[in-house]
């Protein structure tokens, strides 16, 4: 859902960076408290995720580095630091340490009812905030400079959006883990974009795709013994993406290709007909037969286009000879005038 905003801001990698940046937070929270309480750990993740995000923003505004460089830098820095801490923790004589690595790949099975409630509540809050500031979010995403001239504090809106993206990521960590979280954020949004040209529909669809991936993914992994849930969820989400890329009616590859081929065929047909019209025009009797060979010089003519013209009753075919029908002649004449007027 919130992923839609990330995709539209062309900051898709931000999610990846944030989720990796959350890792040291988890480790530090564990080191300080020595307990494996989910809420504490996630709080740590939230804090370090936010720190990572604001560092990225700082790097982008204060230096000449491009945003992808900044993202990569922070991502590897925080992730490396997080891994370092995790290995350090594993060497410690603390019985509690096991299981922290579940945050790497996620483990939905460890979710307890309390976690689910917490997710539901935070999602609810996100939803309310998003609906409240819908107008502000939308205009900022589309045209930030203009938003500023209208008197909105663009920084506030920006921080609001970013914070909620971070929050959403941190919550998802437990389910799909650091490494796969960005896919969970972006895949539904990317899929949704294929189906619609309206922001509200896109966000709505992204939410549905996300929820479905979650449900299906969990169901599939539950049927098999050794399938961990997180990766399966991400795979299901990817299936949505691939399906959307190929089959969406307006932006999908398949229909684009079909439309392209169809246009080409139509044009070929029209050109052939126009060519025949020119030949037929040179005779007083329009249904005077000509040899098929005449057409061979014309590029774009094939047997199948001729057959199609026959099917449409524009042309009559007798052995190696063809002639235009009255209907064909009229269509061709109109086609010709139509095209010349279009050119003007």
């Amino acid at each position: 859902m919130l992923g839609s905003f990330a995709v539209l801001r062309k900051q898709s990698l931000l999610g990846d960076a944030i989720s990796h940046a959350a890792l040291p937070g988890i480790a530090i929270a564990f080191l300080i408290t020595g307990a494996k309480d989910t809420n504490t750990l996630l709080l740590g993740a939230l804090v370090s995720g936010l720190i990572g995000t604001f560092w990225i923003r700082g790097i982008i505004t204060k230096t000449h580095l491009k945003s992808d460089t900044a993202l990569g830098l922070i991502l590897s820095l925080f992730f490396g630091f997080g891994m370092l801490l995790l290995t350090f923790i594993q060497k410690q004589p603390n019985a509690n340490q096991a299981g922290l690595d579940k945050y790497l790949f996620g483990q939905a099975a460890t979710l307890v009812e309390r976690d689910v409630w917490m997710m539901a509540i935070v999602t609810g809050i996100c939803l309310i905030v998003m609906l409240t500031f819908w107008k502000e979010f939308k205009i900022l995403l589309f045209d930030a400079d203009y938003t500023k001239t209208l008197g909105f504090n663009t920084k506030t809106i920006d921080i609001l959006i970013t914070s909620f993206i971070v929050l959403a990521i941190v919550l998802g960590l437990q389910t799909v883990g650091v490494v796969l979280m960005s896919a969970m954020l972006l895949a539904p949004a990317a899929a949704a974009r294929q189906w619609t040209n309206s922001l509200s529909v896109m966000v709505f669809l992204a939410a549905i795709f996300g929820a479905f991936s979650g449900v299906f993914g969990t169901a599939i992994s539950a049927t098999q013994n050794n399938l961990s849930t997180g990766p399966v969820i991400v795979l299901v989400a990817s299936v949505f993406v691939v399906f959307s890329f190929v089959f969406s009616p307006s932006r999908g590859l398949l229909f684009k290709q079909i439309r392209f081929i169809k246009n080409r065929r139509d044009l070929e047909l029209h050109k052939t007909l126009a060519f025949m019209y020119h030949i037929a025009e040179s005779h007083e009797n329009i249904s005077h037969p000509h040899t098929v060979r005449l057409l061979n010089n014309f590029q774009g003519y094939t047997k199948s286009t001729l057959q199609k013209l026959v099917d449409k009753q524009y042309v009559e075919l007798n052995g190696n000879m063809w002639n235009l029908t009255k209907k064909g002649f009229e269509t061709a004449a109109n086609l010709y005038t139509k095209q010349t007027t279009d050119d003007e």
Binding site: F133, K135, D143, G151, F152, L199
Partner: protein, 245 residues
């Protein structure tokens, strides 16, 4: 007749890095003029507009709109950014974009209603884009996109309009449509400030002009100051333009 000063710029200096883009600009724009800002690439034309509108933070200098700081007078000012500054693949419709012009007067959280929609439709009508109101914005031509931006500014119903190259990459019919709207705005007593590139059309379209090249070269009525001398000073070469009245 004493004309009121709509926009006053004092000692404005703007720099992106070390090199100043605008140096010590003093400018007074009287109410009700249709003014072109001309100058070579990199002269700081867009920067001047952005600094006046508070999009960029100047290093020094002050801006006042009708004698008060810009922050207090926002509602009097409308802005048409360069067309290339936004992502036209954004999932929204032409009408939606024009509606954004009403967001400023709505303020935080409040949603646009029937009144705002009506205003947006009227603006679309004015720029001749009403038939395209539900069109996805990426499916509009460059000229149509420019008209949408213009409509969005019209919705703001401001007194002063700033436009950043509205004629860039539009065809002749759109250019005529836009200039007619600008002239209608001036007739209604509005002040219109346009970053402009085509020197040939300056005398025909505008009645006031500012020459800019990092420093302000000259500002005043077109008939008084639009001459070879100022053009040469601004562009550094002898720029021949025939002035037609």
């Amino acid at each position: 007749m004493k004309q009121e000063i709509a926009v006053k710029v004092d000692d404005l200096t703007v720099a992106y890095n070390y090199k100043p883009v605008l140096w010590d600009i003093d400018l007074e724009i009287p109410e009700g003029v249709l003014m072109a800002i001309v100058g070579p690439n990199g002269a700081g034309k867009s920067t001047l507009i952005k600094a006046i509108l508070g999009i960029l933070k100047p290093i020094a200098g002050s801006i006042s709109i009708y004698g008060k700081p810009y922050e207090d007078q926002r509602k009097l000012v409308a802005y048409v950014p360069q067309k290339g500054s936004v992502d036209w693949d954004f999932p929204t419709t032409a009408l939606d974009v024009v509606m954004m012009g009403t967001y400023g007067s709505l303020g935080w959280i409040k949603r646009p209603g029937q009144k705002q929609k009506k205003a947006a439709l009227e603006a679309l009508e004015k720029v001749g884009m009403l038939p395209f109101k539900n069109r996805q914005i990426s499916q509009l031509s460059g000229g149509q996109q420019q008209r949408i931006f213009l409509a969005r500014a019209l919705v703001q119903d401001a007194s002063i309009y700033f436009m950043d190259e509205p004629f860039q990459g539009v065809d002749a019919s759109t250019e005529i449509a836009i200039i007619n709207i600008l002239k209608a705005l001036r007739k209604a007593g509005k002040t219109v400030i346009v970053v402009h590139h085509d020197l040939q059309t300056v005398p025909e379209y505008f009645d006031w002009v500012t020459f800019l090249n990092v420093k302000k070269i000259a500002t005043g009525p077109v008939k008084d100051i639009f001459n070879d001398d100022n053009l040469t000073k601004t562009y550094g070469i002898n720029y021949k333009v025939s002035i037609q009245e």
